[in-house]
Symmetry: C2
Subunit: 636 residues, 2 copies
Amino acid sequence: MQFHLDGYRPGDPSVQEAHPAAQDPDAGLPDTADVLIVGCGPAGLVLAAQLAAFPGIRTVVVDRKDGPLQVGQADGVACRTVEMFEAFGLAERLKEEAYQVNEVSFWRPDPADRSAIVRTGRIQDVEDGISEMPHLIVNQARMLDHLREHMARSAARVVPHYGLTASAVEIAGGADAGEHPVAVTLEHAGGTSVVRAKYVVGCDGARSAVRKAIGRRLEGDALNQTWGVLDVLVETDFPDIRLKSVVQSEAGALLIIPREGGYLVRLYIELEAERYRDLLRERAVTPEVLAAAANRILSPYRVEVKDVGWWTVYEVGQRLCAKFDDVPPEETADRLPRVFIAGDACHTHSAKAGQGMNVSMADAFNLGWKLAGVLTGSAAPELLHTYSAERQTVAQDLIDFDRDFASRMAAGGGATTAASKAEAERGRFADYFRDQGRYTAGLSVRYEPSMITGTGEHQHLAKGFSTGMRFHSAPVVRLADARPVQLGHAARADGAWRLYLFADRVGDRSADGSFRRLCDHLASAASPLARFTPAGAEPDAVLDVRAILQQPHHTLDPTTLPPVLRPRKGRFALVDHEKVFCPDPRQADIFDLRGIDRDRGCMVLVRPDQYVAHVLPLDAAAQLSDFLDGVLRTAG
Amino acid sequence: MQFHLDGYRPGDPSVQEAHPAAQDPDAGLPDTADVLIVGCGPAGLVLAAQLAAFPGIRTVVVDRKDGPLQVGQADGVACRTVEMFEAFGLAERLKEEAYQVNEVSFWRPDPADRSAIVRTGRIQDVEDGISEMPHLIVNQARMLDHLREHMARSAARVVPHYGLTASAVEIAGGADAGEHPVAVTLEHAGGTSVVRAKYVVGCDGARSAVRKAIGRRLEGDALNQTWGVLDVLVETDFPDIRLKSVVQSEAGALLIIPREGGYLVRLYIELEAERYRDLLRERAVTPEVLAAAANRILSPYRVEVKDVGWWTVYEVGQRLCAKFDDVPPEETADRLPRVFIAGDACHTHSAKAGQGMNVSMADAFNLGWKLAGVLTGSAAPELLHTYSAERQTVAQDLIDFDRDFASRMAAGGGATTAASKAEAERGRFADYFRDQGRYTAGLSVRYEPSMITGTGEHQHLAKGFSTGMRFHSAPVVRLADARPVQLGHAARADGAWRLYLFADRVGDRSADGSFRRLCDHLASAASPLARFTPAGAEPDAVLDVRAILQQPHHTLDPTTLPPVLRPRKGRFALVDHEKVFCPDPRQADIFDLRGIDRDRGCMVLVRPDQYVAHVLPLDAAAQLSDFLDGVLRTAG
């Protein structure tokens, strides 16, 4: 966290100075917006938090509820989401209060007495080394609290407006379009208001009004599975009550998710179609019914529910929109999107794999920097097409995964296919679960080549930074202050691209080596850095150049580094000392960990959403320029 | 962090539910207090934050300033202080925003050209393994912000009262004493008020009015050394500007302390008596004078000051009170203290070793639980004598250390003794600095045997938990949820004693082994646990029993543990699952790390301020009882 750049400022450094255009929390709903976000769920608030980094963008967030969510809904926070929260400076707070999923236990019917369950295995939940972040469990309400607090601390002071239901969305075209072509009608207690926006994002859930307005549909089937969810305080003799536990008994399936705070636990309880058909039809399922079902599944163990914090019943369904914006596929070449949908508004699935909230937030994190880039003029408007292209594919993968996962989960009891039942009988869910670990951690998304993702022809220079996948952090030491840090935490949710220069063996020591030459080029007027950084902006505002040298940090003199690695910032043009890193002598060497070619080094270009855009040789300055020319624009 | 024990509660779990007796931030100064704290500096606010854990105690904090400190003063936060902040749940926030001191560089005159300095060494600042916490640098104002926020989040909602200057302190004795025997007169803009208190603590700095009122004096000499301090933004070619650097040149000594946020730096600049005599006498030293002095010392490097955040000039003096309370030594047997002094009010020294704020906070942390214990009736009133006895010795050690350290620091330039100058010439300050690392980290305090510190006759059972020294945390895995944690972080700033049971080799597996037998005893009506826990209090409120087993956590069934290790809490009598730990398979085994006798195991009793009170064999239940009988009382 950097601060005091323009002079010492008292108080909490995470609270930014309010921008002249900052929102007034007491002001009413404005008439116009650059971006109108409909819905204050995980997708809506990640988007709002991202846009809050740009006080020049007027972001308006509305929700039909009367105030913030208090309890219930999602609770699984995948490693990837914690990585993203780190970019907002929120990861530590989250880790402090969340339950951390370290191990998972698996229970099956005892072969000797199939009415009783026995533990069949216990595995590590997150494979070593796949992320520096843990898998957490915390109430969605708290996730949203953190995001709202971040918005309130931002220079833009973005504040949600509650009690507003979107009832119509109209996109003006042609001559009528004007600066704010999308009109959203919002119903509220006092009547009806209209907000005109440049862009509208529907984060308004599975019954999304925005989705309906742009004529998109959630398509897909329901799996014939119904589950109950209980957030409860319990008395129990089940030994793994504080471990995530997958129980597949003769009486059905049960998933135990211990919750934050040491006492609360969430139970996902399969409600077998045959047994519960009448109760479900009559909507007569109660927490008592769910508790009784849990006890049947857990036999010979018992849970006695002492207090119910929240509960619900839902049917598993996997449904998906064909496209996540308002532009029909055939018009993509001629028209730019004005309306987007994210999260449950465009994909729904089961809760069992713990993906819902995470994928919704990732949708928004994919979209936020793109909207900001286009609105600030630093990116080509065509960038907006990549949102649907990238995230619809991810959602399709998720639906496929979830269908498989949910079937296998339920397999012990009400298995729907003979194959999954047979597999379950062989007790292989634990193996399956382990194999899918990278996926459920949110770490297997790979974006296809596009204007913002390279083709990977130089992947051999950095095998561990897969093009199109999220930049996998690794430990390093910051040269200037010898602080052990995670390289990936250089990424802030600030809309900047990051260019990591992994030095070759000679590194900084040869003036005509490829590393120095690239640094000199980047400092020149011809470089993308010079061309795309607007006048008056900090030198790292659009493209943040960082270097990782192979030499031990003790052997280097920071003052002799190329000027591009000692950029000058703020009103006093002070040197930013935090751009250069070396291997951490107490940890595995980052060059080894990520398979960097030590002889040749490389550039790794990372998108503002932390995905690897391109791996290039150090002497490929022209290729870097070409690539960035495809997406960046010289801002006014 | 535990929460949701009595049911799900929305919102920030670190904000406790307000107690019926919680303070109203808008209410004026009350007439009476259980504890009146004079001064909102580091000592005053640590004490207030500690007492805020006891909403039944009415804590009143006053300060003569008009509001919170904004800038300047101390900035060094020793490892031990971060450990203490962890007990308040504040360590992570602190670490996030602070500068972390990882390495220290040393500079001396170049033998070839003594007018120029050269680097003579660079060492690790904190020796590996001495604390799980780093050495931090952060503005005192922020430390105080964190403590105030903690107070505001506490059930007691303790709020400081500003603009109140203590002008008189009178202690009524005998028949006049009443319930609130100490009357403090407070001057304010509107006139004069009197607060009557059970106890008064003067945390009111070097010119303490409370100290004067109880007739104590700061005694000692000034070293003939004057230093300037500059918190500045600079342009410089000095390569180690982001490392803590000790520069001892022909022109004097300079200490560079990089500050939080990446840009700010503090310079401590020696002002040689001869050169600066006139300027000092005329009080004509300015930031420009200090900057010029820094440049002379740093030659051939230069610093150009761009902005001054804060600056001061001070003379080094080491002064100390003979006793830290109002009871004359000869009356200790007959009289209990009513007035205490802490921090700068009873000891002053130089800032160079970075001890000031830390020792002041440690004073308060030593006193807080004692006052709370006596006020709640859970501890013998004689406990209050141990505050002065323990902390006056620590302060005396500090004064001795500081005299030595400050002389050696200045030795390169204005060395005051031939011996220190000679030593400095040999360039040995780096070695000295390294040798003193444990001391400056705040980790070498050892309290003498007393009613709250044992004599160490069983020290061989746990060589790494030295009696009288702070409990040295180590990594473990929590049995119930397989979470890797620091054992020392079980300690919260809640006034409870902690009893760590390190199991013998057999551990939990033998019903007649010493571990099980001790657990059974602790669960019996005769145990100190039963005798000293007040009716209605949680079972771990006074004595928090934890166990560390030698077996891998996978091999143990938590439900078969002795009941004392699965205490029941809250309105639903839920099991607290977080009392039992095992070695962390990814880290060094705690039994090896801390030299625990694996055959015999042991008990380690830890005071509420995290100091080891006693090491006892597992079969020494009677000795444990005897020891606790010496300090604890059955609360009403």
